[in-house]
């Protein structure tokens, strides 16, 4: 962080990050769907289809179940707000976002937890069996994901002596040799499993399922309609985009802007879009080849991720 960052450009970059995440999230989903369709021999909807869906939903009326309290309409707002806070302060495009000194990796984890808890409460507020079912399953998986997630965070923070995101990325740019160490590779695999579980992708949860009994995330949002549903879908896609970008920047940081200036920024946007698109394509291709796991096999997967994360921390002892 040697370059001088004028305050105006720092604010501008964060606003840009927000806009790109808001647009990029739905586009990322569109890309993943497209890849999936192509691999299955279908043409598939256009890339911007999720954005069109959001526009369609936003125009519809708002409906609320009659027994619900204020928690139900509040939950999507809280979910979206947590994701937007993360998208503002984390280093998605540059190593110097607005309030980047406060962008702590542990804080990001707890902010996402706040979003998940809000949505689970919103779904329980409907008083239906599906809401309860979705919340129960999502919270069970969430609780079991947490150890793998935080230990993987620990594995990344230890070499940088800090859990501050810009600091971790800046240090790995300065020491490229770190990126090939065994602890990095182990942490990467743990992170990938965690992201699959957190964002409700195959093989943990099937986002395209139409059978309520197999649903996790979709069962939670069953009662949301119109603008509320648009908000939930938007927040979920933004969360996926933020998680992918963070993953890409933590493990392959090259391309992120380390100095201010339009040229650096344009390069960063291109590089980030490329990295995230590559990650999305790979993930979609992986999803085509796997089937959804039985709910009670998911803990085994997450326990595996936890073991990998612990090994990532411990291997730092053997391979300094």
């Amino acid at each position: 962080m040697s370059a001088h960052w004028p305050a105006v450009s720092v604010v501008a970059v964060s606003v840009l990050q927000l806009i790109l995440v808001m647009l990029g999230g739905p586009l990322l989903l569109g890309l993943m769907r497209k890849v999936r369709c192509r691999m299955e021999g279908r043409v598939g909807p256009p890339l911007r289809q999720p954005l069109l869906d959001l526009r369609k939903l936003a125009r519809r009326e708002r409906i609320r179940p009659e027994h619900a309290s204020w928690v139900f309409p509040f939950a999507p707002v809280a979910l979206a707000a947590t994701t937007l806070v993360v998208a503002t302060v984390t280093p998605l495009l540059t190593t110097h976002p607005l309030f980047g000194w406060s962008a702590d990796l542990f804080a990001v984890v707890f902010l996402f937890l706040l979003g998940s808890v809000s949505l689970a409460l919103g779904s329980l507020d409907t008083g239906t069996a599906f809401g309860g079912m979705g919340a129960s399953r999502a919270m069970t998986i969430g609780a079991l994901t947490e150890p793998a997630l935080l230990v993987a965070v620990l594995a990344l923070s230890v070499p940088a002596h800090s859990s501050n995101l810009p600091a971790i990325i800046t240090r790995s740019l300065a020491h490229p040799a770190w990126l090939a160490t065994p602890q990095r590779v182990l942490a990467l695999v743990a992170f990938l499993i965690v992201i699959i579980a957190e964002s409700g992708r195959l093989p943990v949860d099937n986002p395209a399922t139409h059978l309520e009994l197999t649903m996790i995330h979709e069962a939670m949002v069953l009662e949301y309609a119109g603008p509320d549903l648009a908000l939930v879908k938007m927040a979920e896609s933004m969360r996926l985009a933020v998680l992918f970008t963070l993953l890409a920047n933590l493990f392959v940081p090259w391309g992120i802007a380390t100095a201010p200036g339009p040229l650096h920024l344009a390069l960063a946007i291109g590089a980030t879009a490329g990295k995230v698109a590559a990650l999305g394509t790979a993930m979609a291709a992986f999803e085509v080849t796997v089937a959804k796991l039985r709910l009670f096999r998911v803990p085994e997967l997450l326990a595996g991720a936890f073991v990998l994360a612990v090994l990532a921390v411990l291997s730092a002892l053997v391979v300094p």
Binding site: A58, A107, F110, L154, L295
Partner: protein, 623 residues
């Protein structure tokens, strides 16, 4: 007075020779003790205000009215005791008064008596080991004043120090509800009257942690690595076991009691890490870990006090604490409901509330212990982070269940259906504590300096730089910053913006409609998810630990056994320690008792012979 000591740093000393015969009644409050006095005072004040509106549980009886103030007084004085006799006297006063308070309702319900028995046995067992430990230390030191002991204890032989530490630790752990000595907690807390369970969970269990820190760090001046590994192991076990049982309990107060065991475990994880760092020479980290543990203790007292008080409000409004009999209370209790929700969010460490700040500090202290060449630190820290994370996830699960099933959705019983808001003094008291969760979460600099001073007094590590710089929390000499105020501001701003955007897109009123239910006629509470079904996936995942039992009674109609008349399912979870440890211990004690009864058969001659044999043995031994 406690606040004065805490912020000015001047100790308050009371020394009266004639209050207790053969000893002196000596009080000496330093900043470490004052922290506990202030917490107890805040929780005690709220509990007393709450009690004004609280009826039931026999708390209005004359005995209870006398004992409750006595209990609060003993809680306030224990951290000030400065010699062994005073300490043990106040400690026993606290134990006995709290036992009476647990038993206030014993005439009405048999479970209260059972709970009282468990509590009495555990607390007296703890007191016995405590007396042994402190007497051993004071005789070896040649003085019973804590300052004399702190001066001489570091020069004692290692076995005396270790024996003292282990003995007192057992005593304090039984008071703090540490696994495997936690069994009284989930029994006594649901049966005690509301304000009493709040005081026990938010003030009394703290004193167990106080004792471990006071003896281990202050009197003994720190110890070898294995002491602290042991404390960390016990803390980790308590945290996991407590959070797992909290996640699968269906009774609101029992759930809160297990969650206390869980949080005490987290504090001990911090205390153990602190001792471990101190024993390996990392003084800054030792201070940081202890500050994290003490900060968590302060915050836990506040949110657990709030949760217990609002749970009692719910109990009074609905007549039940069984989650499967509640529901729909957020709309019926417009203050107590949100207060419970806030407390639940704070205990789940959700930003920007208080629990998040202390857990973040705890995580930071563990992170900065690594990478380490010391094998015990290198192993303990990642496992500690894993325990903390699993506990955090399970706590979020627990409180989503407690809030989602208890407060949201449809009411499941007539009691919940007819519930109304409780009296003002009750919701105001719980609401004050919930408000503190928000204020201290957003502005932790209000308490961090006080906690830092308290930790500095007891570890004798004084860092020039402080943890809190204005609205941020930074670590002295270590990279890492948290800005809870900024985080709260950002969240509030985005919540406002998103809600505004939704309103602009759709300015009209929200249509109320029936929830979708696969073509059923009418939505009823019977179709709702219950607390049991909510916890079922978790129960299955942790089947080996929880050992769920399940009984299905099916009765058939008389004409044909192919048609069922009624089916009743009983499910239960039993505490593994109760089944594997306490029941066998209880059985063998009973057997020994029965065997020993054969020896004294009532014959005077035999007793005289016993006396003679004993005398001969004594003479032989002395010769």
């Amino acid at each position: 007075m406690g606040a004065d000591v805490l912020y000015s740093g001047r100790p308050a000393v009371v020394d009266t020779g004639d209050l207790m015969p053969l000893s002196t009644f000596a009080l000496d409050l330093n900043r470490f003790g004052a922290l506990f006095v202030v917490i107890t005072a805040v929780v005690g004040l709220c509990a007393m205000v709450f009690r004004l509106g609280y009826s039931g549980h026999g708390l209005s009886s004359r005995t209870a009215s006398v004992i409750l103030p006595l209990f609060v007084t003993s809680l306030l004085l224990v951290p000030a005791a400065s010699n062994v006799t005073t300490f043990l006297f106040l400690w026993e006063l606290m134990a006995i008064t709290s036992l009476f308070l647990v038993l206030t309702d014993h005439r009405q319900r048999a479970e209260v008596q059972v709970a009282g028995q468990w509590y009495a046995v555990m607390t007296q067992f703890g007191a016995a080991t405590l007396i042994l430990g402190l007497v051993l230390l004071s005789t070896r030191c040649g003085g019973q004043s804590f300052s004399v002991m702190a001066h001489r204890a570091p020069h004692l032989p290692a076995w005396v120090r270790s024996a003292t530490f282990v003995l007192t630790m057992v005593g304090f752990a039984s008071k703090a509800g540490v696994v495997p000595l936690h069994v009284w907690l989930p029994r006594a807390h649901p049966e005690a009257p509301g304000p009493v369970s709040a005081l026990m969970s938010a003030a009394m269990v703290n004193l167990g942690v106080y004792g471990i820190i006071r003896v281990g760090m202050d009197l003994l001046g720190g110890g070898p690595t294995w002491w602290w590994i042991m404390i960390m192991a016990l803390g980790g076990l308590s945290a996991m076991f407590g959070s797992l049982h909290a996640a699968t309990s269906n009774d609101l107060k029992r759930l809160l009691a297990y969650s206390t065991t869980d949080n005490i475990g987290l504090m001990l994880l911090g205390v153990g890490a602190s001792g471990l760092f101190a024993s390996t020479g990392h003084r800054t980290l030792a201070l940081l870990a202890l500050v994290a543990a003490l900060l968590h203790l302060v915050f836990h007292s506040i949110f657990k006090g709030s949760l217990f008080l609002s749970a009692s409000s719910i109990q009074q409004a609905t007549g039940s604490t069984d989650l499967d009999g509640l529901g729909g209370l957020l709309r019926r209790m417009p203050v107590s409901g949100p207060v419970f929700l806030l407390g639940g969010a704070a205990i789940s460490a959700l930003p920007p509330l208080s629990g998040f700040v202390s857990e973040w500090l705890l995580l930071q202290s563990m992170l900065h212990g690594l990478p380490s060449t010391n094998v015990s630190i290198a192993l303990a820290m990642p496992i500690g982070v894993g325990v903390l994370a699993l506990t955090g996830g399970l706590t979020a699960f627990t409180f989503v269940k407690a809030i989602g099933i208890g407060l949201l959705g449809l009411p499941r019983t007539v009691g919940a259906e007819r519930a109304t808001e409780v009296r003002r003094s009750m919701w105001a008291a719980a609401g004050l504590l919930a408000g503190l969760c928000v204020v201290l979460g957003v502005a932790p600099f209000l308490v961090v300096p006080a906690v830092l001073n308290a930790a500095g007094d007891v570890t004798r590590i004084h860092q020039g730089s402080t943890l809190a710089h204005g609205w941020q929390i930074g670590l002295p000499g270590l990279p890492g910053t948290l800005a809870p105020g900024l985080l709260a501001l950002g969240l509030a701003a985005f919540v406002g913006l998103v809600a505004l955007a939704r309103r602009l897109i759709h300015p009209g009123p929200v249509r109320l409609a029936e929830a979708w239910g696969c073509g059923r006629e009418e939505q009823s509470a019977q179709m709702e998810y219950t607390a049991t079904s909510f916890g079922e996936p978790l129960t299955r995942v942790f089947e080996d630990v929880l050992n769920p039992s399940r009984d299905i009674d099916v009765s058939h109609i008389a004409e044909s056994r192919y048609y069922t008349e009624a089916a009743v399912i009983h499910t239960s979870l039993e505490d593994a320690f109760e089944r594997r440890l306490y029941r066998p211990a209880d059985r063998s004690l009973r057997r020994w008792g029965a065997a020993a009864r054969l020896v004294p058969n009532g014959s005077v001659h035999r007793y005289l012979a016993f006396g003679l044999v004993a005398l001969i043995i004594v003479l032989v031994v002395l010769a």
